[in-house]
């Protein structure tokens, strides 16, 4: 079948699905009808999960658009790009920050304001973040750099009404991620420049919501590693452990050693467990952070494979060391990444996560944060 014919078929299938949803939800001139299956949180709805989010008005990405192949493996045996953030080896600018596809007008405005502010003064923004990190570091601890934390450099992350703040943190997480990743990387490298040869850096690795911070606090070997560190890179799961080769390179340029802590967890538990899952955590208005289901799925499926490849390439590197932890209830040390984790299928896991969040009882903004990827990355 020709590409144009394939596109027509896919559009026809989508139109058919939308028509089915409209019919099932009884949408008519009076809006949703009482008792309708689609009316409450998607529960029991026969509609395709996230179908209405998928059909929201979208804006095209301004240049440069960011739609990488998340499965493409680079020279280090590790994939080169995640679906969010900047390229693994990149420290913008250059290049310019890549723009997420298919954002709504509201999301695009927010993304644009953050990108523009950063590109106007990248080092200034990075140093503002570095100052905030240092001010919030407890005495004796190493400064910790995390992409998600860099989102505090936006007004959206500090609305005075905590419920609105929580809604922002769930629904604007993805649009702000590109610039936040660039800021965090630049601030981290600026801090590395202040260290001396022989100093050690710690890197945490693991899927979104794996419990990296929690596991670190509860396993003695990990705590020891943290005590020795002069800097901590708290990897965003969203980056699928793509950044490790870049971190290792930047560290070795400066004569530093890097100690990697990988935290394994079961993604299905970490997503939807009623007490321990990411969805539950996002429902707390004091927190509010929520990750998209496709980003979440990639973080486990691709993150595990990437870290395994990186470990294989560096296990005899005297400038690197590795420990593996498990967070499946009681954090403990492992010998390596469990084999099952290396066989996860990111698309199957995403389907699971999407279907679960569409059904469970969660605030609307948390569902939105979880499902917006259906619109943003409609073809993958």
């Amino acid at each position: 079948m020709k590409l144009s014919q394939l596109k027509r078929v896919r559009v026809a299938l989508l139109v058919d699905k939308i028509q089915t949803i409209v019919k099932n939800c009884g949408i008519g001139p009076g809006g949703f009808q009482p008792g309708n299956r689609c009316q409450r949180g998607g529960k029991g709805g026969g509609s395709v999960p996230g179908a209405t989010i998928r059909s929201e008005a979208k804006t095209g990405a301004p240049p440069p658009p960011y739609s990488p192949n998340v499965d493409k493996i680079g020279k280090h045996g590790v994939t080169t790009h995640a679906r969010v953030g900047v390229g693994a080896e990149d420290l913008p600018p250059p290049p310019k920050i890549g723009r997420i596809p298919n954002l709504t007008p509201h999301e695009r405005r927010v993304e644009t304001m953050f990108v523009k502010a950063f590109e106007k003064d990248p080092n200034g923004m990075a140093n503002k973040f570095l100052d905030i990190v240092k001010q919030s570091t407890k005495p004796g601890d190493a400064p910790t750099f995390g992409t998600d934390d860099a989102k505090v450099l936006t007004s959206a992350w500090s609305h005075k009404d905590i419920n609105k703040r929580a809604q922002n943190r769930a629904t604007l997480n993805t649009p702000l991620h590109q610039t936040a990743n660039a800021i965090a990387k630049r601030a981290f490298v600026n801090h590395l420049d202040t260290l001396k040869p022989g100093d050690e850096v710690m890197v945490t690795v693991g899927g979104c919501g794996a419990g990296k911070g929690y596991a670190l606090k509860n396993v003695p070997e990990a705590l020891d590693m943290k005590k020795k560190a002069k800097a901590v890179w708290d990897s965003a799961g969203d980056q699928n452990a793509t950044e490790n080769p870049w971190i290792q390179k930047e560290a070795e340029k400066r004569g530093l050693k890097v100690n990697y802590v990988y935290v394994h967890a079961d993604p299905k538990t970490q997503w939807a467990h009623p007490e321990r899952g990411v969805v539950k955590r996002a429902g707390d208005p004091n927190d509010g952070r929520m990750v998209d289901a496709k980003v979440f799925a990639d973080s486990y499926a691709l993150g595990a494979k990437n870290h395994q490849a990186f470990y294989e390439a560096n296990k005899n590197n005297k400038n690197a060391s590795f420990i593996f932890l498990e967070n499946t209830g009681m954090p403990k040390k492992l010998d390596g990444i469990p084999k099952d984790s290396l066989q996860l299928d990111r698309k199957e896991l995403a389907k699971f996560a999407i279907a679960r969040v569409a059904k469970i009882d969660a605030p609307a903004h948390v569902k939105r944060g979880a499902l917006m990827g259906i619109r943003i990355w409609e073809d993958d």
Binding site: C38, R40, I53, S136, L153, R276
Partner: protein, 53 residues
């Protein structure tokens, strides 16, 4: 460690983030996020949501 401890950790981490957000208030970028859009229960935008323009 009991499951309450992991949830205690979440609270501690949220407090940490909120402390950073406070520190950022004088230097953060106004991203013109406005009011969050109005949503249906399934997370989709309500028709005519004010903040979508």
């Amino acid at each position: 460690m009991s499951k309450e401890s992991e949830q205690d950790f979440w609270k501690e981490d949220a407090d940490r983030l909120n402390q950073m957000a406070e520190l950022a208030k004088g230097v953060s970028v106004d991203v013109k996020e406005g009011e969050p859009p109005e949503l249906n229960d399934d997370g989709s935008l309500k028709e005519g949501s004010k903040s979508e323009d």
